[in-house]
Symmetry: C2
Subunit: 329 residues, 2 copies
């Protein structure tokens, strides 16, 4: 039998990524175009499909060779209905039937998943989670997202909003999150919020070599924090460790809930590599007691970078085909 | 075909419960004997099997009619290996092969699960979760336990220690739990710890009608706290609400992780009925923002009481038979 091919499309607020992935998770083509979210859903849906066509072309196959299509997109969305409900970073989108649009355009079965879930599936299928039975993934970027693969399946939840790991409560009397809730992990562990807290504390007069950056009008980022920490600034060290400890708290709690074989750290902050991983592993060990395992080696860095989304979306299409759960065409 | 029967055995630190349950979750017999944990594993294993024989006898069937046996027992345990590893409330037990012992005694396939997981399965199969796709259960008693049923299956975890919901971290700079970890839900939401915190605060001089109980040498319990709250004591109200808010925090976080169809509150504290349920639902609503659902009606009380353990163990045996996963005989 000829090899099977899947088209994966990763819709982001800024870019659309698309690629052709084989049934053995080999990437044949990949490309990225701007989303132009401000032009509205119709325009963006067209761009998604054009990006898909270009990915097919670049891979040297034809649309007839594609078995199915997977789309990853920002939530809130409904996997069951195949619609994007109301994503904060796609203004003006409301109940857009993405799955069926893509399915009709290409005349192929399609499936829609939350982008973080798709990325987790990508790492499970083709990245840091290859050969593992289960994984929990934290995506540490602008916000904190999550994805859970358990027993070879997505854990999507009854209302398709499982694995929103940025919204577990870690500070019961803490700050209010953008989602309206109190004390979310995202407020304390995301790159943006971590930098925001540092900026506030610097403005309040904290002694730090980062004061120069602030005076020069620079936006404090986790990259700047890390740079100053590496140069020996004690406040930068403090805030970096604080962020890593909150990530570790998320890891510990998820270990008690899902008890996956591995925990994968993904997203923009992973650019820090070992400077992220080591302190998270250290705090994970310190927080836990002897009763439960202390295997901090189960925490690993993601391997697919920005490809995880479209690779995972393609893999989700393969999974849907295997379990016969396409509800599109 | 004749109806199938399953023997469920629930091993607790104080009592062993056993019963015969039909394939349609009808309880034909049930009984309880003391565990006599101090007499050691051999003695307790015998008592478990004798209780099982008595349950068979009382149900009017014979051992030949029993299809399989399920055992629920306190953790830490390994479902895969069928052994109890080292439960805090069964002193002297270490790596006891409970599943195979029971299996050989009755010459029937057997399965072993964590008692809280078994109870969650009981509620899913025959109690508050009947007809639901998934549930998360908190057992609120001496400690805080948990069980998760997802997609018609136990969520046991890669190392069999999933759903330890009492050990998610809710106070990152909080007290140390018996498990050695910092800030566990169990420290703030269990009946024992809630009463302990109240006792400490009363001894430190908090004004409350409960001071009389303390002076009379009484042990402060959640029952006493509730009674005084109902009589209008404002400190009792404060501590009751604080406990309920922590339980709600657990519910909110699990909603974001598992997103089950329902959340079941079980264990000794459920004796408080609506006095427990209503405040937990209220705090659940208050904590969450508008982005995620606010359906506090999904939080419900358990229905099976003390029967959940052996009923769920019997149901687990039925499930193992169905999926062909017995590794015993």
């Amino acid at each position: 039998m000829a090899e099977r091919y899947y088209l994966g499309i990763d819709l982001g607020g800024t870019n659309i990524k698309a690629g052709i992935v084989t049934e053995t998770a080999k990437v044949l083509s990949k490309l990225s175009v701007t989303t132009d979210a401000e032009c509205g859903p119709d325009h963006v849906l067209s761009r998604m499909c054009e990006a898909g066509e270009e990915a097919i072309k670049q891979s040297g196959i034809s649309i007839q060779d594609v078995t199915a299509i997977g789309v990853g997109a920002p939530g809130a969305l409904s996997h069951k209905k195949g619609i994007i409900i109301a994503p904060p970073n796609l203004p003006g989108w409301k109940n857009v039937p993405v799955r069926d649009y893509v399915s009709r355009y290409f005349n192929k079965p399609a499936t829609l998943d939350n982008d973080a879930n798709a990325a987790a599936w990508g790492e499970y299928w083709a990245g840091a989670g290859r050969g593992k039975s289960s994984l929990v993934m934290f995506t540490l970027g602008t916000g904190v997202g999550g994805g859970i693969v358990y027993d070879g399946k997505f854990l999507r939840g009854h209302y398709d909003t499982a694995a929103e790991l940025g919204h577990i409560i870690v500070e019961p009397n803490g700050k209010r999150c953008n989602c309206g809730q109190i004390g979310c992990l995202e407020i304390y562990a995301s790159a943006i919020n971590s930098a925001k807290i540092a900026t506030e504390e610097l403005k309040a007069g904290r002694k730090s070599s980062m004061q120069e950056e602030l005076s020069a009008g620079k936006l404090i980022t986790t990259e700047i924090i890390l740079n100053h920490k590496l140069k020996g600034d004690s406040y930068a060290e403090e805030i970096w460790n604080r962020t890593c400890r909150y990530i570790a708290i998320g890891c510990v709690s998820m270990d008690h809930v899902i008890n996956a074989e591995i925990i994968v750290l993904a997203g923009g902050m992973v650019a820090a590599g070992e400077y992220l991983l080591k302190p998270v592993q250290k705090f994970y060990q310190e927080l836990q007691g002897p009763v439960f395992g202390n295997n901090s080696g189960k925490i690993v860095l993601a391997e697919l970078g920005n490809d995880a989304g479209f690779v995972g979306a393609a893999g989700a299409a393969k999974l849907c085909e295997e379990v016969g759960s396409f509800s599109g065409l």
